[in-house]
């Protein structure tokens, strides 16, 4: 069993790209890391905030690979990122969301602050979806608990890195199974596209650059003039190919080469 990962990002219709991402693998290949940060704030500060969070994670990556209690480590690391982002931007507000997932064998540990999301898709169904730290999500929970009516306000976060309040990252983990797909994305993806259809598609499709490209385009076209920055990272847990598949693949490869060389003549 092994992981196939890919990432893609698009500026959308905005002037600045304030999304940042990180896709990394430990030297021995046993750990993978996927991170998305979606900056918000002023013209420049949003991107700086997101970059600061990514840099902070990158600086601590060796410790992350080696951590024996990833849940606790991720929580602490996100708080560390918060401190780092607070130092960015000076008097202007510079804040960022953050969602990160550490993959270790068939276990995945994730944490988030804000409205960038983590999804775990199995057999076309969403098994896990993080809950945004946003007003709509709060109100959704409130209206489920009581019959109190509240109004929706999109894009309002009550918790993000770099904002002048304490943060409490949410962390969780999961044991994955063969064929499971993980998706990390900024709100440019999930708010501009029919996620039910997209998740079904992501679950069924191989992790390939052209697929990511097509999903980004779908999200982008939904709001042509003013599309938000879009970022998505996908990881799929796939089984070892059977002997027959390996043999066939080799044959195809040889045939492919032959075909190519013939074209050269």
């Amino acid at each position: 069993m092994h992981w196939v990962t890919a990432a893609d990002s698009n500026i959308g219709g905005r002037e600045d790209q304030q999304d940042r991402y990180l896709l990394a693998q430990s030297d021995d290949g046993s750990n993978h890391l996927l991170v998305v940060a979606d900056g918000a704030g002023g013209h420049k500060t949003g991107g700086l905030a997101a970059q600061a969070a990514i840099d902070c994670i990158d600086d601590n990556i060796e410790e992350l690979w080696a951590s024996t209690d990833p849940d606790a480590f991720i929580k602490q690391l996100i708080i560390e990122c918060h401190t780092r982002v607070l130092a960015v931007g000076g008097e202007d507000l510079a804040c960022t969301t953050l969602v990160m997932a550490l993959i270790r064998g068939d276990e995945v540990f994730w944490g988030h602050v804000g409205d960038s999301r983590f999804y775990l898709v199995r057999d076309g169904e969403t098994v896990v979806k993080t809950r945004d730290h946003s007003l709509p999500e709060l109100q959704l929970q409130a209206s489920a608990d009581t019959d109190h009516i509240v109004s929706m306000e999109t894009n309002k976060l009550y918790m993000c890195l770099g904002a002048p309040v304490d943060i409490l990252p949410e962390v969780a983990s999961s044991v994955v199974r063969e064929g499971d797909t993980l998706l990390l994305c900024s709100d440019g993806l999930w708010s501009q596209i029919d996620m039910v259809a997209l998740l079904a598609d992501i679950g069924d499709s191989p992790v390939a650059a052209k697929n990511l490209d097509s999903w980004i385009n779908q999200a982008r076209l939904a709001d042509k003039e003013n599309s938000d920055n879009i970022t998505l990272l996908v990881a799929k847990f796939v089984g070892q190919p059977s002997l027959l598949q390996t043999v066939l693949r080799r044959i195809y490869r040889v045939l492919g080469k032959k075909r190519k060389s013939r074209m050269n003549f």
Partner: protein, 235 residues
Amino acid sequence: MDYIRVYRGNELKKQFELGEGRVTIGRTDDNSVVLADPGVSRQHAAIEYDDGDYYVVDLGSSNGVFLNSQRVEKGKLKYWDEIQIHNFVIKFMAKPGLGAADDDVAAVDAESDKTEFINITDEKQLEKLRQKTKQCFLNYEDATGATQKMMLKKPRIIIGKAKHADIKLSGWFTPAVAATIERQGNTYELVPTKRGKVIFQNKAIEKPAQLTDGSGFIVRDMEFEFYNRLTQTEE
């Protein structure tokens, strides 16, 4: 009778009674509900009645239709659902004017669609929310008959004879791994193995079963109780 109320920001704009006919929502005057804003398409959405239920349908709008923050092509409505169209919010409800006074609805700047950070004024509520965490643990009797409580902190808990098992079982025919408890975000699954003799809800199971707060199960004659409940933490 079912109603929809149309809000923009904290302001109630319209209230509309739903019948069995199709209700169209859009920018131009020929719609049942007119939302005069350039961000709304001419024919933006419709609310359709079908066999006792109402559905919201996107009529190919450019900015989309959102049902409780999720973009939908077509979605079934239940009471208290909120439909978002551009910067309007449409609430679906059983009776007109039920629930909160308009004062309860927080003021917003509905013009901007950029992500913003806000300070929640009701800090007590937020504190309460932050402190709510789920505690997840297993209760079982060990070989000496003493009751044990194990907090589930790892994504996978192994029950069996193996050295690395988190809960050790004895017995000649006990497999190394009789069953595992696997975390899936906020839920947990009991995953049996072939010779684990796992019994859940009075039945031997071969496929993973979802555990809920208070679930009991048996692995190779050892009885377990699973708990997953909200608690207030000291943090």
